[in-house]
């Protein structure tokens, strides 16, 4: 019997169907539930009110990240509401028997960094978390997506979710990347190509030579922003790099289980003749280092370009949105991006806070100094273990000597929910994922870019083509 060729997504989906219903939905088993302090308190409250237990504490891992301060970590938290959310996580995980990596544990960090780091996220698993950037875990060939509070409660009580099968979309990145072009530029280029709604209703699989050649950290950056393209999940087929990454992680399979797991993971890649509902191809050789100019992640332009004229967009609603974006960003059409001065630098977030990101930023910062007018230049490692590794490599010294602020792990300046914020009217060269109005603080103006580009902006004080600061390829 020959089986219909299937995509990676279809294989993971099929392996997790508990039951199918007449209305086209299926009950899907959840292998991994990551939780943090912001979206879970009401879900725990719901369990308590209904007198329900948490079905699988052994598949649930908690870590605080959104609200945690990134300095003065051992002093009491000053914001009473943040403190209440952190206290609630402590109490709830204790009451329901959930493993918690506490704020001052060396393994603490951003939930999407620590999941794989701990070997909790694994290929072929379903991973959910009450955070839209759960898509990050797709880099390992895990079907991973963000969920709302009612869905969190549903997973707590049943370890399942009632879902409808998504459409499949292939994003092929052909060729290779030029000098100074990074995975962040790839993911921004894809969003620039598809728009923020291009992936709606779909699960994206990133494929092709550029993705295959990419490091694990880089793949995480690419999948992280699938949601900014409208796709609830992004996927990359697990390969030898993936297996090597998970070998001997604290929670990954050991001994005979390891051999069995790898054998299973090798079967997950999309079959040769499998069909996708939608397919786009991007030429990697044509991607330049990118920055955003507006208030939507699709507003990307090469660093060598200029701020666009709203009239240059065909769609009248986009023209209107572009004008509003430019007003908010305080930018004039025709201005060279390289002439735009910035006051704040943020290197961190679940998009770009891993060791490779810090190495790339440090390579630019080394022997240089943050420009005099820069008010804040934060480097925030994604986890305590990333921080330790960076310190072992001397990266912290490079950053500190260059005038950067070396911080404790957390979500930090990505979302203005903790003390790290960009003041109103000021610009930030940021390695995070969203340049929405007010995202980094009320009135804050965000330019998204890669870690190397953010480091370049820090040392020149304006948006800068990092290639000018790098040695020959």
């Amino acid at each position: 019997m020959t089986q219909t060729p299937r995509t990676l997504y279809e294989k993971i989906w099929d392996a997790h169907v508990v039951a199918e219903r007449d209305d086209g939905t299926a009950l899907i088993f959840i292998d991994r539930h990551l939780i943090h302090e912001v979206t879970t308190p009401q879900a725990f409250e719901g369990l308590r009110t209904a007198g329900r237990r948490l079905r699988r504490p052994d598949l649930t891992l908690a870590v605080p990240d959104h609200n945690v301060p990134t300095n003065h970590r051992f002093e009491p938290i000053t914001d009473p509401e943040s403190a209440a959310q952190l206290d609630a996580l402590l109490r709830n995980t204790k009451d329901f028997g959930v493993e918690l990596i506490e704020m001052n544990d060396a393994r603490q960090g951003i939930v999407h960094v620590i999941g794989p780091e701990q070997g909790f996220t694994l290929p072929g698993t379903t991973v959910v978390c009450g955070d839209s950037h759960t898509a990050t875990h797709g880099a390992f060939g895990a079907l991973a997506f963000g969920i709302g509070t009612s869905e969190i409660e549903h997973v707590f009580a049943t370890q399942t979710l009632l879902l409808r099968r998504a459409k499949t979309m292939e994003v092929r990145v052909e060729g290779s990347l030029g000098h100074g072009v990074t995975p962040k530029d790839v993911t921004l280029a894809v969003i620039g190509h598809t728009g923020t709604g291009g992936g709606t209703g779909h699960v994206i699989e990133y494929r092709g030579p550029v993705i295959e050649a990419m490091s694990i950290e880089g793949r995480m950056t690419v999948c992280n922003m699938a949601i900014e393209g409208g796709a609830r999940a992004g996927l990359i087929a697990p390969d030898e790099k993936t297996f090597a990454y998970f070998k001997d992680r604290p929670r990954s399979p050991k001994g005979a289980d390891w051999e069995k797991a790898v054998a299973y993971w090798r079967t997950l890649a999309t079959d040769r003749d499998a069909r996708f509902d939608k397919s786009i191809v991007i030429d990697g050789t044509k991607i330049a280092p990118l920055v955003t100019w507006g208030t939507s992640p699709e507003d990307v332009v090469p660093i060598t370009g200029v701020v666009p004229e709203p009239a240059s967009f065909a769609d009248p609603t986009k023209q209107d949105a572009a004008q509003k974006s430019l007003d908010y960003m305080g930018l004039t059409p025709g201005t060279r991006l390289e002439d735009v001065e910035v006051q704040n630098i943020f290197i961190g977030s679940c998009t770009n806070s891993r060791i490779e990101d810090l190495r790339a930023a440090a390579a630019v910062a080394k022997g240089r100094h943050v420009a005099g007018h820069i008010k804040q230049a934060l480097v925030v490692p994604g986890s305590g273990l990333v921080k330790r590794q960076a310190e072992a490599e001397g990266l912290d010294r490079i950053f500190i000597e260059a005038g950067f602020d070396w911080r404790e792990p957390g979500c930090s300046m990505c979302l203005g929910m903790n003390p790290d914020k960009v003041p109103a009217g000021e610009r930030c060269a940021s390695t995070s994922n969203r340049n929405f109005v007010g995202r980094q603080g009320p009135g804050a103006r965000t330019h998204l870019m890669s870690p190397a580009m953010a480091a370049a902006a820090a040392v020149t004080g304006r948006l800068t083509d990092v290639r000018q600061l790098m040695g020959a390829a």
């Binding site: 088993f29 409250e45 509401e81 701990q118 698993t125 049943t158 009632l162 399979p253 069995k260 797991a261």
Partner: protein, 199 residues
């Protein structure tokens, strides 16, 4: 979730169109750790006026809210149905509802009744003086004055509301299927179980 078949009670004739979730519960009330208690922030801007419709003695704790077109548009925050429930509302009657709000309301046991504008106008008038009856079983809204307005509802949602089944309760009814899946998983992929508590 409490079962719901028929309810007679006071309705608040609010009537506003395009009420977004920021109006229902402003963002500054979101940094809470509870569902309960959000009622105090519900319609906060409207309620800054002491003569507002919600705080009139007759309307305190009323179970029915009558609103205009496109109720619940805007942000997906689940705090909107939490806030309405906390105020005492179990039913919202309006000409139409925003999609995401509609799903969130259902997940939280609220009944949304869609009726044409002229029937809404009539109910607004009656609500000034009399109670309104919403009969889910027979899918009809009635008043003490012979008004009988039939409404449509998704059969699955009706079934859940009539029997007090929330989605979690329904899924828990499939416990055998889940347990069978877990048993097979434990054999096929023994590395899945227990991972959170290792190390």
């Amino acid at each position: 979730m409490d079962a719901f078949k028929i309810l007679t009670g006071i309705a608040v004739p609010f009537g506003a169109k395009n009420v977004d979730t920021d109006v229902i519960i402003p963002a500054r009330f979101l940094k809470t750790i509870q569902r309960a208690g959000l009622g105090k922030g519900a319609f906060a801007v409207i309620r800054e006026n002491p003569d507002n419709i919600f705080d009139q003695p007759r309307h305190k704790g009323a179970p029915v809210l009558i609103a205009g077109d496109n109720f619940g548009c805007g942000s997906s925050r689940e705090h909107a149905p939490w806030a309405l429930t906390d105020m005492g509302f179990r039913i919202v009657i309006a000409p139409s509802f925003a999609d995401i709000f509609s799903g969130n309301a259902f997940k939280n046991g609220m009944l949304l009744v869609a009726l044409p504008q002229e029937q809404i106008d009539r109910l607004m008038e009656v609500a000034e003086t009399d109670e309104i009856t919403v009969d889910l079983e027979n899918q009809v809204v009635t008043t003490p004055y012979q008004d009988r307005f039939a409404f449509e509802i998704d059969p699955f949602r009706k079934h859940c509301l009539l029997n007090g089944l929330d989605e979690i309760g329904l899924t828990q009814a499939m416990d055998k299927d889940i347990a069978a899946f877990e048993a097979k998983l434990a054999v096929d992929q023994p590395w899945i179980a227990g991972a959170a508590q290792v190390a």
